[in-house]
Symmetry: C2
Subunit: 382 residues, 2 copies
């Protein structure tokens, strides 16, 4: 039973919306004239603003990473297992900032926001956003919050890409980058899965070319399919087997096409729930940001050359059964860091849950994460 | 350049349609009053009908396994690499039978056939077919062809399940079962991917509950998505990387949602082509046959107990990078065969192409396959 009274919970938190009145120019060449970012913070910023940690979210994440939104709230933030007093990201020592990224659908300016120039939802006219754009907007957020240099930027999966990009875009504004269950760039298979998700959404007749808001509908089936495919890639074969096996919902085969095995109804339920809460245009945008991320690209495909721009220290973590971003992809990153003579700590955590393991506290994961951030805290006097 | 004149080609072949006038009762309890099976044969049946090999096809396969349908035909049958004079399944020694399974969409009776009782296409009223049903219908086909005992039943993937089922359903009618890139039952992850494919098809508005024939349309988008997902699972991450990498179709990022990476346009092309040629109801039926296959189920989930019914010898082959049906799944099968004290030869072939490797001749694969079937041929005096 989650409990906001628990001594290791950040308790009830209130998101705040920060308005940015200056235009931001994006990698695609387009400009957003104004935009909002929704932010939650946990803990206290110290006097020299040296104890700030930025949390970067993954594909379907948002600003609500820890704590509860009200006393009646039954579900804590998405990374509550790692953020709180005494937890790896210890809010009694660090000032933790968590935002909903630009292009998101949880309050920050995104495709479902009103375009001030037209008075209508951006929809498909919202620019494609890259990881670099996010990091740029996060740097402007840091300025606003009075944070010149992050003690650490931390993220899993797509969030890890942002942490990595921070080390390259603003080497003097980040002391540590924690890159968890991530990759320096997607493989062809990763892109292929994203393309299936996008095609499912865009081929749904209710998508209306991204203008579904105007038709008072949502591409429910397409989003559901996208999430179902995604979900399979987040879990390991073994953990799905452990969780569902070949269990039937009923006693015997039905010889029909209703959900029959437990895993089928679970996936349908996950997909349906997601389709009711997530914006389809944001989903497209997030998958595209994943596809495009490739910091080596500008450096003749040499990741080590790219990493020479960084000056922070790195913690890289991978999970043994993650087949979305395998430990081999993290090792690729670590090897490039070593070749670039950067300081890096690396661990492959043995965990059965596939990619999702980065959200699940296990002793070795928690121990390494805690020990590393304890060192960071001591460095910055927190 | 394929060539029907080549000495190792079976040349130009003509499929034949065999009509079965007696009703067949299926595992689901329903009965088909009459049905057709489309068949190709290669080579000559010997005097004592001891040299016959049955080829069982996989999800999207059909009867056209080898040779060409005309002198203008540019593409040979789907397993032409393994079937022909001097090839592993040597048609100068064996009489090879290849059929389109019941429920298929290449000429055998299936959902797009006319139901003689209504004068309309079966559509969604076509019964769900199981692997056991296929083997039953294949036994009736063997009767028709005067084959009492197969020298071998051979299949890859879903075809391997049929070979395995033959050893259990008709132990005295099969001397050897060759089970390639297969599994004794699907994992939860396998079922999950099938469910995504089914959901993509059934949620396409052009599916019309399976009655799309009446609306003069096909669920093009759904079938395309189903095939795209399937295709990803047939290839390895490495082979996709090798084939496409992160190559762009154009020189630079487009910052839009058209197919941009080579892998995206390849997948879309594969999906579109497939959606024009394959029947959606057959696709549903094939995935369901996969899900249901589980010979251990009736034997208290003990595969070894199930295998005690068999009396043939087995060749089991797996491929190192197959993540759809991993070598571990084949080893599960082999271990059960050993526990049941059956004769089994097993090899894991090192090949980079994932599940599709069973269709691609490589020296070690070809050598083992050839040597095994050479022994079979000598056994039956062929």
């Amino acid at each position: 039973m989650p409990d906001f009274h628990s001594p290791d919970s950040v308790g009830v938190v209130t998101p705040q919306t920060l308005h940015f009145g200056e235009p931001i120019t994006l990698a695609c060449g387009k400009t957003l004239p104004v935009y909002d970012l929704v932010v939650e913070t946990y803990g206290e910023l110290n006097a020299d603003a040296s104890n700030a940690i930025l949390i970067c979210h993954a594909l379907s994440g948002h600003h609500h990473a820890a704590g509860y939104h009200s006393e009646d709230d039954r579900k804590p933030g998405w990374w509550d297992s790692c953020i709180g007093p005494g937890k790896p990201i210890d809010t009694s020592r660090f000032f933790v900032v968590s935002l909903n990224n630009l292009g998101g659908c949880n309050g920050s300016t995104g495709p479902c926001s009103i375009n001030p120039e037209t008075g209508q939802a951006y929809g498909p006219s919202f620019p494609v956003i890259t990881v670099k754009d996010w990091v740029h907007s996060q740097a402007l957020l840091a300025d606003r919050l009075g944070i010149r240099c992050w003690a650490a930027v931390v993220g899993g999966s797509l969030g890890g890409m942002q942490a990595l990009q921070w080390s390259l875009s603003y080497p003097d504004r980040i002391r540590h980058a924690v890159v968890i269950a991530s990759t320096p760039r997607l493989s062809a298979q990763n892109i292929a899965f994203n393309e299936v998700a996008r095609k499912a959404i865009t081929s749904d007749p209710d998508f209306h070319g991204g203008r579904f808001y105007d038709f008072n509908t949502i591409p429910r089936q397409g989003l559901m399919l996208a999430r179902m495919v995604g979900h399979i890639t987040y879990l390991s074969d073994a953990s799905m087997g452990e969780k569902f096996g070949r269990e039937l919902r009923d006693q015997a085969f039905q010889f029909g096409y209703d959900a029959e095995f437990q895993v089928e109804s679970y996936l349908r339920y996950q997909g349906e729930r997601f389709s009711e809460t997530f914006d389809a245009n944001t989903y497209l945008l997030m998958t595209k940001a994943l596809d495009y991320f490739d910091p080596a690209y500008e450096f003749d495909n040499n990741l080590a050359t790219a990493l020479k721009r960084s000056s922070c220290e790195f913690l890289v973590l991978s999970f043994s059964t993650d087949w979305r971003f395998t430990p081999a992809r993290s090792e690729e990153l670590v090897n490039a860091m070593i070749a670039a003579r950067r300081k890096v700590s690396y661990a492959e955590i043995d965990a059965p849950w596939g990619h999702d393991a980065f959200l699940i506290p296990t002793p070795r994961y928690t121990d390494i994460f805690t020990a590393y951030l304890d060192r960071v805290a001591r460095e910055v006097g927190a």
